[in-house]
Symmetry: C3
Subunit: 323 residues, 3 copies
């Protein structure tokens, strides 16, 4: 983890508007609602399609991905183009970084190419914060995932999906299930749910995939899936981060599926009208059964569509809030 001193609210301008989107931790409910409402305005109420709007014409958005992710990069690219912004995509993994240049030198160079906004993915927690603190005041930064720390636009699109299908978050009981330890998605979900007044946030995970600080985050911890999702309005599945795990924290994929894989039988413990979310890509037959993934309680594909609208909302609010 990179060393960083946190200023009180690096994400907000002095008059309380959104300046960067780095984490949902500490972001006021007012801002979260503003993002979700703005996202809603970008979706055609009749067709469910995302609109194309000329809001960011002439704004240069640089997608700088130090960690490869075609899917997330593509959603940001599409969102930026639907706002009529100019987009430049950079896979930095293969570039200057490998030539020994520092992260901040790379960023300074891209800023000198007259970028207005950086969308940053990096394997190191705190990378987007570091960049946000470093850049000139007129430049905006969006965290598209930093290490295990945060993935705020994913957390936001999940809130959008919950609100769309189940109404206000403060009426919902929600369970997050899976590899919480390695998941920046889970962290962003918990911060958003807590801020939006969710009365009961549960975490379900094998003991070895549970971070130590969970209790202090105000969540209820369960080891058994059936118990953890009993009576909830929504099950937020996590991807089993096979490629992230070091050493043998789990018996086997088969054993994991048997105990924590979401099957139709286990889903019955949740409310009958409960919805199932997943950030993708799914490991079918590991953390989620195909019958659930393709079933009528799953809202996994709407999540993707709302992800475009939410990213448009974030970028347009940031660009509009330039001081």
């Amino acid at each position: 983890m990179m060393s960083l001193r946190m200023t009180p609210n690096p994400q907000l301008t002095e008059d309380g508007r959104l300046r960067h989107l780095l984490t949902l931790d500490g972001l006021p409910a007012r801002i979260l609602h503003q993002i979700l409402d703005t996202a809603e305005s970008f979706i055609n109420a009749d067709t469910g399609e995302v609109k194309k709007v000329p809001l960011l014409r002439g704004v240069a958005i640089f997608n700088i991905f130090f960690e490869n992710s075609t899917r997330t990069r593509t959603t940001f690219e599409i969102a930026a183009k639907r706002l009529s912004a100019d987009v430049v995509n950079l896979n930095i993994g293969t570039s200057s970084q490998s030539k020994g240049e520092t992260l901040l030198d790379t960023v300074d160079n891209l800023a000198a190419m007259q970028a207005n906004m950086f969308v940053v993915r990096h394997s190191a927690a705190g990378a987007a914060h570091l960049i946000a603190r470093h850049v000139a005041p007129h430049i905006r930064v969006v965290n598209a995932g930093d290490g295990r720390a945060a993935h705020p636009t994913q957390g936001l699109l999940d809130m959008y999906t919950l609100r769309h299908f189940k109404g206000p978050i403060h009426n919902l009981r929600v369970a997050i299930v899976g590899d919480v330890l390695h998941s920046r998605v889970a962290r962003s979900q918990i911060h958003a749910l807590t801020t939006l007044g969710c009365p009961e946030v549960r975490v379900v995970a094998p003991r070895t995939l549970l971070p130590r600080d969970m209790q202090s985050m105000g969540v209820h911890v369960y080891e058994r899936l059936e118990e953890g999702i009993r009576g909830v309005d929504a099950v937020l599945m996590l991807r089993l981060q096979n490629e992230r795990m070091q050493g043998a924290r789990l018996p086997s994929a088969g054993e994991y599926y048997k105990r924590w894989g979401l099957t139709p039988e286990k889903l019955k413990y949740a409310r009958p009208d409960a919805i199932v979310l997943h950030p993708g890509p799914m490991n079918r037959g590991v953390e989620i059964d195909s019958e659930v993934a393709d079933g009528k309680q799953a809202v996994i594909l709407p999540q993707v569509t709302y992800g475009i609208a939410v990213r448009m909302a974030v970028m347009s609010l940031l660009a509009g809030g330039q001081t």
Copy 2:
């Protein structure tokens, strides 16, 4: 090869218009002529240049390449941009697929990003069919090459080139020369030539590079090059797919050149005004001699230009035929 059940005409709508372009096998002559005529309308008759037209403004075309091909991907990108479509390029080889996501989950995710059309290249035969059968009815699929099965836009651009330089296909004698066994190009060429009434389609190949089903496709098989191209109007060379061959089907590149490489001497066996095509990239000195490749009978570079127009024609017909 992926398992797939074929519906009678998955490529056509109920009223007989083009819905997807997956293979030239079974596509009616009427549709082939429509594509070639549309392509012709995109070429400026005076300059030979491909026009820019606003036909697909607002249409989102996703190039999803599970197999790397800068050249083919670029021609589709250029064709889509000349139609004023929005293009998103994805190299999936390095992305979600490597994270264990299924092909159809990847496609569903991209569809949820509001794609109108997929251009698909995949190393598995049947991949584009699988996707076409899976997607929502308003989404169009173009096969940009699947395994050894089909490469329909290449077959079509070859037909365009033949027609442009030599007149109607039903008057021509044509020889396809080379690594037929591994060639999706050859399969698409044979289907197109047969459908368009070519009275004599010949295949020239070493016995070890000839698939067993050749005779049943209605083609004449030759092992000696001189004999196979005697009197033909056009020689359609294939690339020697070195990287595809497993084991030792050939003595050596030098030996291949000696017997099946198209030299100026051997080309004399064809008609004096015969033309020479090649899908590229060429192995000079292996399947084709540089003197032929650069000679006045070669129409290899016009093929590339016509390829843009043909791909524009396919995409505009698909987009216009939305039901």
Copy 3:
């Protein structure tokens, strides 16, 4: 190095206008001034920002990079887009070249896709010349770096930076410091400085990193840094091309820093108002100390911004000069 016969002025049309930009060697001062003046017209005098202009609408520019360089490729992409050109990016390292296609066949194919201009980076010296001699007369070629030979747009942006901060080149004393042997940047800088009448061009390098032809290029050679930069108006640092060096031409990075690394102490030997340039990416603590890199004499980030304007100037002059 590729074999090539040089025609007298392959870069100029018969009436003396810029046809290709391949090297600054032999390019008349008149052309250099024209490029710098055009670049200046693209920069907003009040804000220092690069303008967006519709000069190259409908012009198709292909960035073909046989050698990976996200940074340089991005600056050309941005410059082309600010001229309203259509840009196609191709990383050829992973494509047809690996399938055995020749360089010129690749270029012919791309030209058949109706490219108007190629921006070429290649690891082989002379690659851009070879392409320029080969393509049809209406196609323009810009060398974006060929082997150790030339990097003309980098040389030009350095001249722009010198002129902007220090006035006319013919009044300046300039030192180029570092790995001259492996540096195409140094070669282009020397040619530009000499042509523009710089009265004193110095080169400072360890003996093992100095090419043998240095004296004949009209430069003064120094081995000690303090001596080499004494009294100069500008220090042009070079990147230590670690990845290019074969064998042990240097004792160690630490030893290099001690003797040739530009520290605040050593910089005092230059004029007090001397500026420091670096083409990036920087090796901090090797060829340049962080205090200098981030200090007020450094103009390293303005170089990047001017690089966009200079590349716009080159491309617009080439496109405008079509015959």
